[in-house]
């Protein structure tokens, strides 16, 4: 083997990099097209807004991608987002200090992740069913937390100053000219990118998604690995819940509705295989960007919400269809070669 491969040669060998980069190329193309239709798309403020709102999808996408790489799915993401927003804001609106409120919220969400992980990893429930169950339960908790109504403004509990600080930290404040929300997403992304690509646990996540039997026979603890993936998903959802809480200054019972599906879309557009075992988190980042720019751009050019949905739906299906066609194409040619 040639040890002195160029940097590009090495990069070319990284699996899944192609589809990740495709997502970024798509992102840029879509951005330019919308910009050409309406120059406001290119405005500084719009760019800042774009980065802030795509952050939510990046975070959701990271969580869902972790689970998808294990070959499973997490339908409870949106409900965990809602639960996190409700728990944190309920506590704060009752005067519980920010740090304590956040801590309780994180603990509650992680519990959901662990339950999901055990239901799927240990008790072998189909992930679709297991997380469908926790989806309803967590949404139910989000409703019950404040007695079936949205919370009061958090300033009414922790005071205007603290409320401001909380809202700035997660949503309205800027660091180095860019909204904090984006930095939070970026740092979270970097941490989980590192964990997934450079650590033992990360490798185990790919392994159980590729072939759970082979992974187990290679000494991988399948239950713990599944729990870890679902926990990452829950943590990411919590952060989004806090962001939504900060944005509104209060907890909304419906916060995060459908977010689990946005996560699937971001991952799939970025080349994460819904069957597990393949894909890079970098692609998810790009996929979240594509999603957000589509939404933003269609909005800017005045497309109706219905049309937006249709375009987005078509893009998701196209992304996977392309992947399937390419893969089947290579299958067919390989089979043809064999028979020849």
């Amino acid at each position: 083997m040639d040890k002195k491969k160029s940097v590009f040669g090495k990069l070319g060998e990284v699996k899944g990099l192609g589809s990740s980069l495709t997502a970024f190329v798509g992102l840029i193309v879509i951005y330019l097209v919308f910009g050409m239709i309406d120059h406001k798309v290119f405005s500084a403020q719009n760019n800042l807004n774009l980065m802030r709102s795509m952050s939510k999808y990046v975070l959701i996408g990271i969580g869902q991608s972790y689970v998808m790489i294990t070959g499973n799915i997490d339908l409870s993401i949106g409900s965990v987002v809602g639960m996190a927003a409700m728990i944190s804001c309920t506590l704060m609106s009752h005067g519980v200090p920010i740090a304590a409120a956040v801590l309780v919220t994180v603990a509650a969400s992680i519990a959901v992740g662990i339950v999901n992980g055990f239901l799927v990893g240990k008790f072998k429930l189909p992930p679709f069913i297991a997380t469908l169950g926790t989806m309803f339960v967590t949404r139910g908790i989000a409703f019950i937390v404040n007695g079936n109504r949205n919370t009061d403004n958090i300033a009414s509990g922790i005071g205007k100053e603290s409320a401001d600080a909380f809202q700035k930290f997660f949503y309205y404040g800027k660091t180095l000219g860019i909204y904090n929300t984006f930095w939070i997403a970026l740092i979270t992304f970097l941490i989980f990118f590192f964990l997934l690509s450079k650590t033992r646990s990360g490798r185990h996540i790919y392994a159980i998604g590729s072939n759970v039997d082979a992974a187990r026979l290679s000494g991988v603890n399948v239950v713990m690995t599944t729990v870890k993936a679902y926990t990452v998903s829950a943590i990411c959802s919590t952060i989004v819940g806090l962001i939504l809480g900060a944005q509104a200054g209060m907890g909304n019972m419906d916060a995060g509705n459908m977010y689990e599906m946005y996560g699937v879309a971001a991952g799939v557009i970025g080349g994460i295989s819904p069957l597990g075992g393949a894909g890079l988190l970098l692609g998810t980042f790009g996929g979240a960007g594509v999603w957000q720019i589509l939404e933003n751009g269609l909005n800017m050019i005045g497309a109706q919400i219905g049309l937006q949905r249709i375009v987005i739906g078509v893009i998701v299906v196209m992304a996977v269809l392309l992947d399937v066609v390419i893969r089947n194409g290579s299958h067919i040619s390989r089979r043809a070669k064999k028979e020849a």
Binding site: E13, K15, K198, T199, R200, Y206, N211, A215, R216, G219
Partner: protein
């Protein structure tokens, strides 16, 4: 003696260059049971699959009831009167007996299905067999033996006159076998011809009229059962010359390092006792389904044990998962590469690294790429895995090279016991020799090697000691240098005599 109803002559068939059948013939008469015998891989299944239209032959003629048939497909074979009762039963478990019997040829009334008519017919054929099953029962709720009866009834309902039964008794209890034999008797009276494939030679005297023996895809002999002795049959089955040379090396047999005591895990692992010594390869021989794979899986902690102890270097181990076994120094290269051995979507590097991430990651769990590459290079060069790059997906490799990855990933760590389950299945001769050499290296290093293989010549050629299993039990232990294929085969077919016992056994319901 009845009329000849099936004549197959000069049948040849190759699969991607491998000759599975070479000028084989088979004849079946009305009202007889023709036992088709041979080792695993002798070509029995291929031959009957040609008759039932699953495979098309490359050469030869097939005549059924005197009529010559060109290429058969499953439909034309069925129309000609051929039915096969599969080893793995092919039924929709959630549907009823009646629905299964009429699947694909439902009887329709004016508007909807005519269930009453179908049930009546189903009952008629079941009655004809003397089987008491309601056509309304859900198939999945019935024991395997009854499901088999339904398959037979289904065959009768399409007026099959040639019935092929592939290992029909393997899942049955003694009582059920007696029932099956009674039904076979009835079928004979009705003029059906039955091709009966079984490894259980002791059954033959109860039902076989004639015997056809095959070996390595060739026809060996056909004779009336009463003209043959059991020894003669075994000799015909295994009388293969050992042409290949095996690179066996001689080593000083060292101390005992591994011992399995009274291991039990389901029907196929019953009271297993054996020891492994340093500097020794122990071959595990037996027919397919003898419980060897199940034994390795129980030892390695993949499947739960119901009893027994595992000792390594004088210490009793408690193994409840593969991770426990690996930590203790026991590793397993499993039988089924695609299912248990490889993560096909991951690269070769990632596959080799997977069980060694504890070494590569150290305490922090952060993987060192340098260590990983070094380890991977070592495995690739030691086993000469042929690939343009270790970054390629594992499923791009040829079978032999895939197998080398499955084996190679274990060799870069220090193990004390290495278990190989069918390591040479489906790989080319060159790769086989490399695997043999590798086992020899381990043997030289003082590692205990457990070598499961269904290929008698290679077990004889590589192993020092041979343990033979049959039907979940160890039936013999032999010195590889002293024994013969015939002797191994005798132990491998030493089934517990299920027949002739008056009292019904209680087990057998665990399966199915």
């Amino acid at each position: 003696m009845g009329n000849v109803i099936v004549e197959m002559e000069h049948i040849s068939k190759a699969f991607s260059g491998v000759q599975a059948l070479n000028d084989v013939k088979l004849e079946l008469r009305e009202g007889e049971v023709m036992a088709l015998l041979g080792e695993n891989g002798a070509g029995k299944s291929t031959l009957v699959k040609i008759l039932s239209g699953v495979y098309t032959r490359d050469a030869g003629t097939v005549r059924i009831f005197g009529k010559e048939y060109g290429d058969l497909n499953p439909t034309t074979a069925r129309e000609a009167g051929v039915a096969i009762i599969h080893q793995e039963l092919n039924m929709c478990r959630h549907l009823t007996v009646c629905e299964n019997m009429f699947l694909g040829r439902e009887i329709k009334g004016k508007f909807a299905l005519n269930n009453a008519k179908m049930e009546e017919e189903a009952r008629h054929y079941l009655d004809e067999l003397g089987v008491d099953i309601s056509p309304r029962r859900i198939v999945g709720d019935l024991p395997v033996s009854k499901q088999q009866m339904i398959e037979i009834a289904k065959a009768l309902s399409v007026h099959a006159k040639v019935l092929i039964m592939d290992e029909p008794t393997s899942a049955l209890t003694s009582k059920e076998i007696e029932e099956l034999f009674r039904i076979i008797g009835r079928l004979k009276e009705q003029g059906c011809g039955i091709i009966y494939i079984s490894h259980r030679l002791e059954e033959l005297e109860h039902i076989a009229d004639r015997v056809t023996i095959m070996r390595d895809g060739r026809f060996i002999t056909t004779a009336a059962y009463k003209d043959l002795t059991m020894d003669k049959i075994i000799e015909h089955m295994v009388g293969r010359e050992i042409k290949e040379r095996f690179p066996r090396i001689e080593c000083e047999k060292g101390e005992k390092i591994f011992e399995v005591k009274n291991l039990n895990a389901g029907r196929l692992v019953r009271d297993i006792n054996f020891s492994l010594y340093k500097g020794e390869i122990v071959g595990f021989a037996g027919l397919m389904g003898a419980g060897r794979t199940e034994t390795t899986r129980a030892i390695f902690g993949v499947d739960p044990k119901t009893g027994g102890e595992i000792w390594l270097e004088g210490k009793k181990l408690s193994i409840s998962s593969p991770l426990d076994a690996i930590r203790a120094g026991i590793v397993l290269a499993p039988e089924d590469r695609k299912k248990d051995g490889l993560c096909t979507k991951l690269s070769i590097r990632q596959n080799i690294a997977l069980p060694n991430l504890d070494v590569i990651g150290g305490k922090s769990g952060v993987l060192s790429r340098a260590k990983e590459d070094a380890l991977c290079d070592q495995a690739v060069s030691e086993l000469s895995i042929k690939t343009p790059s270790v970054e390629k997906d594992a499923n791009t490799l040829s079978g032999g090279n895939q197998q080398k990855v499955v084996v190679g990933k274990w060799l870069v760590r220090d193990s004390k016991v290495v278990i190989f389950d069918e390591p040479t299945r489906g790989i080319d001769v060159g790769a086989k020799v490399e695997i043999y050499n590798l086992m020899n290296q381990l043997k030289k290093k003082g590692i205990a090697v457990m070598f499961v293989s269904s290929e008698l010549p290679e077990v004889l050629g590589i192993a020092d000691r041979i343990i033979v299993m049959c039907d979940g039990r160890i039936t013999g232990e032999l010195d590889a240098r002293q024994t013969t294929q015939q002797e191994i085969m005798r132990y491998a077919t030493m089934f517990e005599n299920k027949l002739g016992k008056v009292e019904g056994r209680t087990e057998g319901k665990e399966r199915g």
